[in-house]
Each structure stands twice: as structure tokens, then as C-alpha cells.
């Protein structure tokens, strides 16, 4: 066994042994998605260690690279989820402020513009909810796993996906804002219109700033074994016992509750027909979102491993 624990035989390691070990480590790190400055830094630290003690037992290069991938993959995935949520919170607050101000400054009348503009607005509304759910559940899982040095590769993957989908959907929502601001009737307050452009710009910049941490964690390939859990492991006691282990049942309950809320708000606004239509659209969107993204985002088990 050589001094670096790399599985080679021989006596005292020479410089050729050391450089072969470091080259192997560099290659293995790249193989698990740790490249660039981080890869160079790790190799430099190991080189320094071997210079201090040429007989050091550092371990097999492939095993070391896997350990880095598991540990950094965990830390980075958690960080990505937290940063994504923080960015979405800023964007969401701006969006909410702009939406609330619309009640006073929109000026009444229908949204002008083409059917495409209406479609963009519709997508924006749905995307906003996807961003909220995905980013919020990503944060919940990051908090739940905060004490773990290493989580399973599936857990890390779910965290990164929730962060990524949250940011992407958040960006789509923000892009709908200038479409609405520019398509608003002439009676809309100019300052409200301008605020819409500012909300879009600031929100998108915030999201772009959070994106590198998601991309960095998506590049790492951890391999730690274990299952990722599902929606119920995130929400825990918040879910009634009779719904636990029935993800579709839970989705139907949420969709129905939201649909009823919108129908009720329509009735309160003396437009029950519009409320029912909105409620039906909302409920359908929730179920469609759950069908499309539920497995990918780890809301239900069995579909979230790669």
C-alpha cells in the first residue's frame, strides 16, 4: 500500500507517485462535477499536504472525489434552495406590492393587447404559483436537512430541482409584469406602469444573482444512497393523517380548496360566474401542475430519481 492510500504498491512515494496521485485526484474530481477553481484548490491543498508529509494516508482518489461530491453536493444544494427562496421572496414582495397597487392605479378597463399578451399574463399567474410552491418546498426541505452533513443523491437532486424550477417560474412571472403594464388602459397611472418595469428589472436581476448557486450544485454528482422522501416528509404534521401517503388525494384537496376560495371571492365581488370560471381554471392548473411536476420536484415518491 502506498502512502497516499491509492491502492498502489511500493515503498516511499516519490515525486512521480505524488504527481500521479494528484493527477488522478484531479481527474476523479472532474468526473464528479467538481471542476475549475474548486478542483484546482482541492488538488493544491492535497499537494501541500503531501509536501508536509509524503507518507500521509490520504485515501483512494476516487473515494476522496466521491466524498467531496457527497459533502459539497449536500451543502451546495441546500444553499441553492435557500438562495433561490430568498430571491423569490424579494421578487414576490415586489410583485405583490405592484399587484396591490393595481387595485388603485390600474384605472379599470380590460387589458389591451393581443391574445398573446393575455396568454403571457395567464402563464405569469400560473408560473407565480409554481415558483411559490417550488421555492417554498425547497426551503422547507433545506431547513429539514440542515443538520445533515451528507444527504442522499436523490435528496440533493430534489433540492436543486425545486430551486431551479422556482427561479425559472419566478422569472416567467416577472416577465409577464411589463406585458400587463404596457397593455394597461390609458387611465392607468404612469407611475404604476413605470413601477411595473422596475419590479420586472429588479426581480429578474435578483433571480439571475441566485442562479449560479443552482447551476453549481446541479453540476455536482453526489452518489450517496437513500431515498428522497416526498411532500409529506416536507410538510410533516401539517398534513392531516388521513391524507398522508395519498399525494393525489392531497393535490385534489388543495385544488378544490383553492377553486372554492376563488368562487367565493367572485360571489363576494358580485360576479359569481367569473369566480366559478377562475376557480375551475385554478383547480385544473393545480392538478395539471401536480401531474407535470409532482414527480420531478419530489412531491410524490417513485419518480424523482434520475
Amino acid at each position: 500500500m502506498n502512502a497516499h492510500g491509492g491502492g498502489r504498491t511500493g515503498g516511499q512515494p516519490g515525486s512521480r507517485d505524488t504527481s500521479a496521485y494528484l493527477e488522478s485526484l484531479s481527474r476523479e474530481l472532474k468526473g464528479v462535477g467538481i471542476a475549475g477553481a474548486r478542483q484546482k484548490r482541492i488538488v493544491a491543498e492535497f499537494a501541500d499536504h503531501l509536501e508536509c508529509d509524503p507518507n500521509a494516508e490520504l485515501g483512494d482518489a476516487a473515494m476522496i472525489a466521491r466524498t467531496f461530491a457527497d459533502e459539497l453536493g449536500t451543502a451546495w444544494a441546500r444553499r441553492a434552495a435557500i438562495r433561490a427562496f430568498a430571491a423569490l421572496a424579494v421578487a414576490g414582495l415586489l410583485f405583490a406590492a405592484w399587484g396591490l397597487l393595481a387595485a388603485r392605479y390600474y384605472g379599470g378597463g380590460r387589458l389591451a393587447g393581443s391574445a398573446a399578451a393575455q396568454l403571457v399574463l395567464g402563464f405569469g399567474v400560473v408560473a407565480g404559483q409554481v415558483a411559490f410552491v417550488s421555492g417554498g418546498l425547497g426551503l422547507l426541505r433545506a431547513i429539514r436537512l440542515r443538520r445533515q452533513a451528507v444527504v442522499s443523491a436523490d435528496e440533493a437532486r430534489v433540492l436543486v430541482r425545486r430551486a431551479g424550477v422556482g427561479l425559472f417560474a419566478g422569472a416567467l412571472t416577472l416577465l409577464a409584469v411589463p406585458v400587463v403594464a404596457s397593455g394597461a388602459p390609458g387611465s392607468a397611472h404612469p407611475a404604476w406602469r413605470t413601477f411595473g418595469y422596475v419590479v420586472c428589472a429588479v426581480g429578474v436581476v435578483t433571480i439571475v444573482l441566485a442562479a449560479p448557486s443552482v447551476l453549481a450544485s446541479a453540476r455536482v454528482a453526489p452518489r450517496a444512497a437513500g431515498e428522497a422522501g416526498d411532500l409529506f416528509s416536507d410538510l410533516g404534521p401539517l398534513v392531516p393523517r388521513w391524507l398522508v401517503a395519498a399525494p393525489w388525494g392531497f393535490a385534489v384537496v388543495i385544488a378544490t380548496a383553492l377553486a372554492m376560495m376563488l368562487a367565493a371571492s367572485g360571489a363576494l365581488a358580485s360576479d359569481p360566474y367569473d369566480g366559478i370560471l377562475r376557480g375551475l381554471a385554478e383547480g385544473t392548473a393545480v392538478l395539471a401542475g401536480f401531474a407535470l411536476l409532482g414527480g420531478y420536484l419530489g412531491l410524490r415518491t417513485g419518480h424523482h430519481s434520475s
Binding site: 492510500g5 474548486r38 484548490r41 482541492i42 493544491a44 491543498e45 492535497f46 501541500d48 499536504h49 509536501e51 508536509c52 508529509d53 500521509a56 494516508e57 490520504l58 485515501g59 473515494m63 476522496i64 466524498t67 467531496f68 457527497d70 459533502e71 459539497l72 449536500t74 451543502a75 451546495w76 441546500r78 444553499r79 452533513a149
Partner: protein, 103 residues
């Protein structure tokens, strides 16, 4: 003490060692060995991933040393100091409880 027994304590040990002064990776391992009287059979290569992870978690910071050989030197952040205090307190409580049962 083998590596398996150390699992779960490695972070606390690293934070504690670095609370005395900033150190590079090799010095951290040497300090762990010295403080434990050589009883910690630590696979040396596993300390570096833990250092990087703790840094990513905001508990450590690091920088290349200025003088002499170019080395990555780690130091405890404020969050790291708080975490170490919490871990020490948790460990004392755990030890007291176990001792009370074993005694």
C-alpha cells in the same frame, strides 16, 4: 477510536481546533492528532471535504496564505463560533446524561 465512531463528531472537532487559531488543512489534522494523543484514527483525506463543506455552510472562511508557501488557511466565522458554542453545550448535556445512566 476508529473513523466510524468519529462520524458525527468530526465537524465539532474541526471547529474546536480552529477556534484557537487559523490553520491550513495539514495543521488541522496534526492538531487533532496531537490533542487526542494520537487516539483519533482519522482518514486524513476525509478532513478536507469536511473543511470545504463547513466553509460552504458559512461556519468557516478560508484564504490563501500570503507569506511563504501558498496554502489555504481556514478560520472560524462568527456563525462557526456560535455553532461551536452550541455543540459544546449539547455535548456536555449528552455526556452528563449518559454518565448519569452509566454510573
Amino acid at each position: 477510536m476508529n473513523a466510524e465512531e468519529l462520524k458525527g463528531h468530526l465537524d465539532s472537532l474541526i471547529l474546536s481546533v480552529l477556534s484557537s487559531r487559523p490553520m491550513h488543512g495539514y495543521a488541522v489534522i496534526e492538531e487533532l492528532r496531537s490533542r487526542s494523543g494520537g487516539r483519533l484514527a482519522l482518514p486524513e483525506g476525509t478532513v478536507y471535504p469536511a473543511l470545504h463543506r463547513l466553509e460552504s455552510g458559512g461556519l468557516l472562511s478560508s484564504a490563501w496564505s500570503d507569506g511563504g508557501r501558498r496554502r489555504r488557511v481556514y478560520s472560524l466565522t462568527r456563525a462557526g463560533q456560535r455553532e461551536l458554542r452550541a455543540r459544546r453545550s449539547g455535548w456536555r448535556e449528552f455526556r452528563t446524561t449518559i454518565e448519569a445512566v452509566l454510573a
